[in-house]
Symmetry: C2
Subunit: 420 residues, 2 copies
C-alpha cells in the first residue's frame, strides 16, 4: 500500500473490510440467509401471520420507558445519535417496541386476534462475539388480542415447528417455560425489595452465558439461595400451556424456573429454546407474553404473545449439525460463445429460454470458450450451452451438465423443456 | 392525553408516529413492497444475477473519495456519526460503493463476468418530499468484468424488461442514453475549466427537477449556451449500444445529450428511465458504466455497468396508472370456533391443513362466531371454516367463501383439496 499522502488519510487506499461487527453476504452467504428467511416466512404464513415492516430508524424515546436503567441501556448498548433537527434517533435494537407502536397507531382499524410477523435487522452496540454481532436479522412473530393460554400454545407450537422445519429432532433442543407470575410469587415469598428483584432477573437471564460458579456467587451476593430456583411443582399458568402441547407430543417443552428473559415488558409466560448440542449448548431464542406494552402510548393494555428468532444463532445451530444447505446458483444455464460476434445471437436465445421461465446468464465473449465454461462452473451454474456459428445455423445445441460432464444435442426449440 | 408529569418527557405518553421521513409498512403496504421486490428479484434471477447483501453500516471513508465536495455531501446529505471506538460510520446512501468494496475484497476468488444484484435499503438525510424519503429500497444490478458494449446492452435491456414486467408499455416510458465520453468531448470543445464542468454536470443532473427557465438561467450563469446540449448526431459509443437494442424493438431507448447522472464515478455510458405520464413526468431511475471505482481500494480498474431502481419512484409509477396489485391476505382460510373449548380441536384441524400446504389462522375463541367471521373478512382472508361440536363429531365442515357468501359442506379429509 502506498503511503505518500502524509497525514491525509483520504488520499491513501481504503480498506475493503466491512464495518466492525457486521457481515458482508456474498452470494453463497446470502443463499443461506434466504434459506433461513424462507423457512421462517413459510412457517409464519402457514400459521396465518401477515408480514409487516418498518424503518430501522426509530425515535430514541421508544426504548426509554420509565426506568432509569433503560436510559443506561439506550446510551451504552444501542446506536443512538442526534439528527440536525435535534431528534434523538436509535437504530432499533429489537422489533417489539416498533410493532407495539404500529399496533397502537391503528388499534381501532385493526381486527383481533391479530397475527403479524417480520424479519427485520436489529442493531446492538457491543463487543462482537460468537453468536452476537452488532447487526443481525430476527424473525418476530406476535399474536395480539388474546388472553387465552391458547395464544401461548400457538406461539410455542410455532417455535417448536420452526426448529423441526430446520431439521431438528426432539432430542436436539428443549423449550424451557416459566412465568413472570411464578417469579413474582417467588419474590414475594423471599420478601425481596425491587432493586434485588431486578438483580436476580438479570442474573438469571445471564445464566446460560456464565459458569455455574459465577451464577451461585451472584445469587449469594444478592442474598438468595440457589435452592429457590431448582425445579419444583409446575405453576398453574405454565401447566395450562404445557398440557395441550404434551398431548400433541411436544414433550421437550418443559417447566424450568430459571427462565426469565431480559426484557422488562414480559408479564406472563416466558420461554427459551435451548440447543442441547455439546458444542453449542446455549439459549437460541425465546419470547413470552407482554400485555402492557401499549401503555407507553397511553393506551389500555392489549394482550400479546410473541417470540424473536435470530439468524446468527440458528445458523450456528445448523452449522454444528451440518444442516446448512449446499450452495447452488439460482442461474440454471450459462450460454458460452465461440466468438464475441455471437453475443447478441446468444442474447436472443437467452431471451427465448427466459420466456419459458429458465434463469440464464450469457457470456459476453471477453475470454476463451474453455475459460467461459470454467467461470460457469466456479459460479456453481449447473448447465452450459455452447453458442457457435454451426449451432446457430443448424438449430441444434450441445447442452452440457457440468457436474457429470454429460453432453446432449438438443434442438433449439426443445432446449427450454430439456432444462425444466 | 394526560400531562401530569410536568417537564419530565419520559413520563408522558409516546407518539405512535414513525421517525420523520421513513415509512411503516402495515401488511397492505408490505404486500406491495413484496410485489415490487418479487418482480425485481425474478427479473434479476432470470438474467443470471446472484443475490448479495451487506450491512447498512459502512465506514464513512467509503463515500469520501478525493473530492472536497464529497466531504460536503457526506456531512450534509448522509447519516454519519462517530461510534465509541472513534470510527466514523455512515448509513449507506447508495449501494455501489459497497458492492465495489465487496468485489475488491475477493477479486481473485471471483470469476468474471460477474452478475450481482441486491435490494438494499439506503438512507439520505434531506428534507422528505414526493418520491424522495429518508429511507428507501433500491434494486441494484451490476455486471462486472466486461468492456464490451454488450454489457450496456444487457443492462439496458434489463431496465426495459423490468418496466415491461411492471406493466408499462413502450409509450409509458423512455430510456435516455448519453455518455461521459460525449460530455467530455463537449467540454473540450467549449474549453471549460474543471470547476465549470462540475457546475454543468450538476445543473444537467437537476434538469428534470427544475423549470426550463431555471435551467437556461443556470447555463447562462455558468456561461454556456443551451444549444450545446440540444440533440445532435449520436456519439459512436452510444450508437454501438443503441443499434442492437433497436433491432430487438426497444425503440424507446434513445440518445439524449442532457443525461449525465450525478455521481462522479461514471466513466462511459449513462442512462435514465423517464416516466412519460403527465402527472409523473420525471426520471424514475438510471445507471451507467463505472470502470474506475475499485481504484479507491488501490486496485486496477475493473469494467462495471449497473443501475439502481428505487421502490418509491416505481410505486409512484404504478400508482399513477392503477397498476398496484390488490391486497389479498397470504392466509387462505380462517377457522372460526363455536366455543372457546374447541380451540385445541381447531388447532388440530389447522395442523392437518398446514401439512397439505394450506395457510391457516385459528380463532382463539375470545369472541362470538359472527365477530370471528367479520375479523377474517376485515383481514381479507378469503375462506372460513366453522369448527363446532357437530362438525367435529360428523367429520363434515362448512367451507364459506367470504366474497361470494357461497357455502359448501365438505368432509374433513377433503378440506385441503377443496382449498388448493
Amino acid at each position: 500500500m502506498s503511503n505518500g499522502a502524509g497525514g491525509r488519510k483520504k488520499n491513501t487506499e481504503l480498506s475493503t473490510e466491512p464495518y466492525k461487527g457486521v457481515r458482508d453476504f456474498y452470494p453463497e452467504d446470502q443463499e443461506v440467509q434466504n434459506y433461513i428467511f424462507g423457512t421462517m416466512r413459510e412457517m409464519a404464513q402457514k400459521c396465518g401471520y401477515a408480514e409487516y415492516n418498518a424503518s430501522i430508524l426509530e425515535p430514541a424515546e421508544l426504548y426509554r420507558g420509565k426506568n432509569a436503567e433503560n436510559e443506561e441501556i439506550i446510551n451504552e448498548q444501542t446506536y443512538t445519535f442526534t439528527d440536525r433537527g435535534e431528534r434523538e434517533v436509535t437504530l432499533r435494537p429489537e422489533m417489539t417496541p416498533t410493532v407495539a407502536r404500529m399496533v397502537a397507531a391503528k388499534r381501532r382499524e385493526l381486527s383481533f386476534p391479530l397475527r403479524w410477523y417480520s424479519i427485520p435487522n436489529v442493531f446492538r452496540y457491543e463487543r462482537p462475539q460468537r453468536g452476537r454481532l452488532r447487526e443481525h436479522w430476527q424473525l418476530n412473530v406476535d399474536l395480539f388480542g388474546s388472553d387465552s393460554p391458547a395464544a401461548e400454545v400457538e406461539i410455542l407450537a410455532m417455535a417448536w415447528g420452526l426448529m423441526s422445519k430446520f431439521g431438528a429432532t426432539k432430542e436436539d433442543f428443549e423449550i424451557r417455560v416459566s412465568s413472570r407470575a411464578f417469579l413474582n410469587s417467588l419474590f414475594a415469598q423471599l420478601g425481596l425489595p425491587e432493586e434485588k428483584k431486578r438483580q436476580v432477573v438479570h442474573l438469571l437471564d445471564r445464566k446460560a452465558k456464565i459458569t455455574r460458579e459465577e451464577f451461585a456467587e451472584g445469587l449469594e451476593a444478592i442474598g438468595v439461595s440457589e435452592d429457590a430456583f431448582s425445579p419444583k411443582e409446575t405453576p398453574a399458568d405454565v401447566a395450562a400451556v404445557l398440557a395441550p402441547l404434551h398431548e400433541t407430543g411436544f414433550d421437550n417443552i418443559v417447566f424450568n424456573p430459571s427462565v426469565v428473559r431480559g426484557f422488562d415488558y414480559y408479564t406472563g409466560i416466558v420461554f427459551e429454546v435451548f440447543d442441547k448440542h455439546p458444542e453449542n449448548n446455549r439459549s437460541l431464542f425465546g419470547g413470552g407474553r407482554y400485555d402492557n406494552l401499549l401503555a407507553i402510548f397511553g393506551q389500555e393494555p392489549l394482550p400479546a404473545v410473541g417470540f424473536g428468532m435470530g439468524d446468527v444463532t440458528i445458523r450456528d445451530f445448523l452449522a454444528v449439525r451440518n444442516l446448512l444447505p449446499e450452495y447452488v446458483s439460482t442461474t440454471k444455464v450459462y450460454l458460452a460463445v465461440t466468438s464475441a460476434d455471437l453475443v447478441f445471437e446468444a442474447m436472443k436465445l437467452a431471451g427465448e429460454l427466459r420466456q419459458a421461465g429458465i434463469t440464464v446468464a450469457v457470456d459476453l465473449g471477453d475470454k476463451k470458450l474453455g475459460d467461459q465454461i470454467k467461470a460457469a462452473d466456479k459460479q456453481r451454474i449447473p448447465y452450459v450451452i455452447v453458442v457457435g456459428e454451426d449451432e446457430l445455423k443448424n438449430g441444434v445445441f450441445k447442452l452440457k451438465e457440468l457436474k457429470s460432464g454429460e453432453e446432449r444435442e438438443i434442438k433449439r426449440d426443445s432446449l427450454a423443456s430439456a432444462l425444466t
